[in-house]
């Protein structure tokens, strides 16, 4: 591990100023991923700006509704929050499906969004990886890639984003609040993570020095029926082979009034299934309609040599979750 400086910030202003003052700085929150990567020599920050004690650890109800989740709210606390469980069950379920109890106790909301892929080649400095070392090539494309992307990958990178929480946030139309040298801005979670394209080294649209201060859950999806389902190699503590977050609101006339479907484990970012949603909105959520909608979305899939199983897996999961939500309505 490369020696590094350490600064503990007491305010958001102090944090962004410290980041600006130290070239090669990185923000440190729970550290569950960043510190591992530093040990492996994958991340080599010059300075860590510790933001874990900033006063961003509360869940608040803004006057207009929804929830504003501070960036340092721990994953365990967010999953257990009564208003989250009541109004956004998909988020609570996704959080509890991720990592282990110990990790959720230390990992933060902001850090969860910013975690890096678990591609073995990304984590191994002895192999090529365009995400870790741009221009060296993608070892996974022809290497060990059962866990890798089937949607939206590029010749340069086939990594997936590992977060469960982010998949739920994408389905809930949540937004990310950022504070940086040029002030504040807001980015929808669905646009927060990038597809790899020609620049897989850029996971997100976060600009240099920007700090996540909060994630906002909108009033529009509060209280709508929602669910998260994840398929994995073991019953706990495993990344998603595929996962589904869905929100489905069926009107009194039996047609879909609101639908959001997002896949995890399939792409470089949570994959919002817009084609499926378009097909379902305003239609009756019959088994056939659900099947066709999901099929339309997964028609975009381009599996690699060893991960074609993810396509039927995601299809079955999505169909099941949507079908259960459709059947559950009062």
């Amino acid at each position: 591990m490369k020696p590094y400086g350490y600064v503990r910030a007491r305010s958001v202003e102090e944090a962004t100023a410290a980041h600006a003052a130290h070239p090669g700085a990185r923000y440190l929150a729970g550290g569950t991923n960043l510190v591992d990567l530093m040990k492996h020599g994958v991340e080599t920050p010059g300075t860590l700006v510790d933001v874990s004690r900033l006063p961003l650890d509360t869940v608040e109800e803004p006057p207009g509704g929804g929830l504003r989740v501070g960036a340092t709210v721990r994953n365990s606390d967010l999953a257990a929050h009564p208003l989250v469980r009541e109004r956004y069950p998909v988020l609570s379920q996704a959080l509890l499906a991720g990592a282990s109890g110990q990790l959720r106790n230390i990992a933060t909301t902001g850090g969860n969004l910013l975690q890096r892929t678990r591609c073995p080649y990304f984590q191994d400095t002895g192999t090529p990886c365009n995400k870790r070392a741009p221009g060296t090539g993608c070892a996974a494309r022809e290497g060990v890639h059962r866990d890798h992307a089937v949607l939206g990958h590029s010749p340069h990178c086939v990594a997936t984003h590992p977060s469960d929480m982010a998949v739920a946030l994408a389905a809930l139309d949540a937004t990310v609040e950022l504070r940086g040298p040029d002030g504040e801005r807001t980015v929808p979670v669905t646009e927060f993570h990038r597809l790899p394209g020609d620049h897989p080294e850029r996971d997100t649209v976060v600009r240099p020095g920007e700090l996540i201060t909060a994630v906002v859950l909108p009033p529009g999806t509060a209280g709508l029926p929602s669910a998260y389902r994840k398929a994995r190699d073991r019953a706990s503590y495993a990344f998603a082979l595929a996962s589904v977050a869905a929100v489905l609101d069926v009107a009194g006339d039996g047609t879909v009034r609101h639908v959001a479907l997002a896949f995890g484990g399939l792409a470089h970012r949570p994959w919002r299934a817009r084609l499926a949603e378009t097909a379902l909105l305003g239609a009756a959520p019959t088994e056939d309609a659900l099947a066709h909608a999901v099929e339309a979305e997964l028609g975009l899939a381009q599996p690699l040599r060893d991960n074609a199983f993810k396509v039927p897996l995601a299809r079955n999961l999505a169909h099941r979750v949507l079908s259960e939500l459709a059947a559950d309505r009062p």
Partner: protein, 711 residues
């Protein structure tokens, strides 16, 4: 002050057979038990070492640039194949670290950084620049690999055994099963990674090497270090007081202890070296993958007429290790014609080694799955098929069994599991998205025992000190040895102190092959029996130094008895398969064992169910992937190498039948450390077949494999 001993003490209730708490349990759960890497007396001048693994799969080191590493603050030295001290001869080539420039596999150590702190050492290791001349590599095992050869031995037994005409009898059999099973590479991954602390004291002929090592046997480590560092054994002390699991990977000395001793000698400083998890996959062994062809020929009534089990596996280019998966077929079933054979392919892979019932675990997965297939082909209950083929004597040797409780285990298990109500039709139990099935498989593990020494001392204060260089790898060895001693002495277990885990104590074999309790316990029993005799003759107060008796079981434990000695068991599993995701989840797991006398029901149960969880992992979650492009294994942390989590193990239970076998050892015990693993993967696989109607023949049963087959 001297205590006076009653000539005929009132004998307390026997300690053996009583569920007894672990002696060191409190130390472990309160964190006061010290492991090799965290010894309490770490000296202030302790330095830290961090090895540098090769990043190519095959080739030679052409240059090692240490300038960047040496320029970092805190770096004390960087040892390379060109500069490391020359070692003496060893019979284990994996210990010849930094002795030449050859790279036999990815992850092989090519340099060692030594520095003031752990962080400095890691930074220095990452700053070492190694240049290689690479050669084309091959890490892929195939059935028809051109380099496959038949080794002389597999697991210390002949690689090939044939009785009668297995091929001819198979062809002539009216009912035939000819199937090939595959088990991937697997890794031991104990919770405590391998670690060592090494210190040299004195100079020249007075030099003494002290090592704290996480090992399953301190004496074998000392023997290896004596050869490598050209020292008489009495000038080396190896301590392995507490060991956080090993599962075979700490059964032989490993490179880290050699590197720690080398670094300490080179720098003149005590040195600590704890391997990072990411290195373990390449340097401390693994279970080699196996491709196993099983051919069973039977009469219509289920009587086997031909049994063939042919195993192909891999080894490294530096050392031959053969996963002896064909051996259990020589024990299990009567068949007039039989063939068991092994072939091994040297590849550019890390050296495989012992892991959790080597041979028996993968071999019985294939054999017991094939038996299930045969039962299906015959339309016969799988338990009945096993009853039909129960042998009168051990099939391969013709020796009588000292005891064989397989049928009793199957019957007891069937009763407890509710097997009689089972509908044998596959794919017939669907509830919503779940398919449910049940399966059974037999288990066997040989009775192994090695000579050991031990000493027993009656202290003048009325207590007893028992010493033997046993290793407690988490099994409860200390506790059971105290129980054995207490009963042999006829005293309460609380008056017995046990000293283990150091070469300063009487020499003893390693903890491996489920043989520890038998080997150490025999010597402890013998020493305590002698001591009791001596005390019975003793008059007056005991002397201040107490009275000591020693024992060496070289003769009795080394004797080959005219019996086939094995533990047996039966495993039952109930699984559910999610038809939409291909996820397989175990709902119930039951093991019933015939393993001689169970000495401590509390720790025995823990070993049995621990083994069953390992078997569950082998069946459903664990696998390592030899990376064809880069060599080495792709899974190098516990997030990607999936040992079962608590959520995977909802209901696991172990029982045993009473077995009185006079041909074992004075305690009447058989080893119980590994048999829990042996039948579990096949029982789960057979249950998955019963649930889905699909026969999977490659482990693990993860969604990528299961889901496409259900479509």
């Amino acid at each position: 002050m001297h205590s006076t001993r009653a000539r005929v003490p009132a004998a307390p209730a026997p300690a053996l057979g009583v569920a007894t708490e672990r002696i060191e349990g409190r130390d472990k759960v309160t964190g006061t038990a010290r492991y090799a890497g965290e010894h309490a007396r770490t000296p202030p001048d302790c330095a830290y070492a961090w090895p540098v693994p090769a990043t190519v799969a095959r080739g030679r080191v052409t240059a090692v640039d240490t300038a960047g590493a040496l320029a970092l603050p805190g770096t004390l030295a960087v040892l390379t194949p060109g500069t490391a001290p020359r070692l003496g001869e060893s019979d284990d080539p994996t210990l010849a670290v930094l002795q030449d420039d050859a790279v036999p596999h990815r992850g092989w150590y090519v340099a060692l950084a030594v520095a003031e702190t752990l962080e400095d050492a890691r930074a220095a290791a990452q700053a070492v620049r190694v240049t290689y001349a690479t050669e084309p590599h091959d890490v892929t095992l195939t059935e028809d690999h051109p380099d496959a050869y038949r080794p002389e031995q597999a697991g210390g037994r002949p690689a090939l055994r044939e009785r009668g005409d297995a091929g001819g009898a198979f062809t002539a059999a009216p009912v035939r099963v000819d199937v090939t099973y595959r088990v991937p590479p697997l890794h031991n991954h104990p919770m405590e990674p391998h670690a060592a602390f090494a210190r040299w004291d004195g100079e020249g002929d007075g030099a003494h090497l002290t090592v704290y090592d996480s090992s399953q046997g301190a004496d074998p480590v000392r023997t290896a270090l004596a050869a490598l560092f050209r020292l008489p054994e009495d000038r080396i002390t190896v301590v392995s007081e507490h060991v956080g699991g090993g599962f075979g990977s700490k059964g032989t000395p490993r490179p880290h202890v050699v590197l720690a001793a080398m670094a300490a000698r080179h720098t003149g400083r005590p040195v600590k070296l704890a391997l990072p998890r990411g290195h373990l996959a390449a340097v401390v062994g693994h279970r080699a993958p196996t491709i196993q062809r099983v051919r069973l020929g039977a009469e219509h009534d289920g009587t086997l007429t031909s049994l063939s089990h042919e195993v192909t596996t891999h080894t490294s280019r530096v050392k031959e290790f053969v996963e002896q998966a064909g051996l259990p077929a020589r024990v299990m079933y009567a068949s007039p014609h039989s063939l068991t054979d092994h072939h091994v392919v040297p590849l550019d892979v890390p050296t495989p080694s012992w892991m959790r019932a080597p041979g028996e675990a993968p071999g019985m997965y294939a054999l017991e799955s094939a038996m299930d297939e045969l039962a299906g082909a015959l339309g016969m209950d799988p338990i009945e098929l096993r009853v039909r083929n129960e042998p009168a004597t051990e099939p391969d040797s013709g020796l009588p069994f000292s005891s064989r409780g397989l049928l009793a285990c199957l019957r007891e298990g069937a009763h407890r599991f509710g097997w009689a109500d089972r509908d044998p039709r596959p794919a017939a139990r669907r509830e919503g998205r779940w398919l449910t099935g049940t399966g059974v498989a037999a288990a066997t593990y040989p009775v192994l025992v090695s000579p050991s020494t031990a000493a027993a001392t009656a202290r003048h204060d009325g207590g007893y000190d028992i010493t033997v260089n046993a290793t407690d790898i988490g099994t409860g060895a200390r506790t059971v040895l105290a129980q054995i001693a207490a009963d042999a002495l006829g005293v309460a277990v609380g008056s017995v102190s046990i000293g283990i885990g150091s070469t300063r104590l009487p020499r003893a074999p390693l903890a491996g092959g489920s043989s520890g309790t038998a080997s150490w316990g025999w010597a402890v029993h013998r020493a305590c029996t002698r001591l009791a005799e001596r005390l019975a003759r003793h008059t007056g107060p005991l002397p201040a130094e107490g009275v000591t008796a020693v024992a060496d079981t070289a003769e009795e434990a080394g004797r080959t008895p005219p019996f086939a000695r094995h533990a047996f068991g039966a495993h039952f599993a109930e699984v559910q398969v999610d038809t939409g995701t291909g996820e397989v989840r175990v709902r119930r797991l039951l093991g019933v064992y015939a393993a001689g006398r169970i000495l401590n029901p509390r720790t025995a149960r823990s070993q049995f169910i621990g083994g069953m969880v390992m078997g569950l992992g082998m069946a459903l979650t664990e696998h390592s992937t030899a990376d064809p492009a880069f060599g080495g294994f792709a899974e190098r942390d516990l997030a990607s190498y999936h040992v079962p989590s608590n959520a995977d193990v909802p209901d696991v239970d172990a029982h045993w039948i009473d077995e009185d076998d006079p041909h074992l050892n004075p305690m009447g015990s058989k080893g119980i450390g590994e048999i829990g693993i042996v039948g579990t993967p096949a029982a789960i696989g057979n249950a998955v077949h019963h649930a889905t109607g699909v026969r999977f023949r490659e482990l693990p049963l993860t969604p990528d494999r299961v889901l496409p087959a259900l479509a």
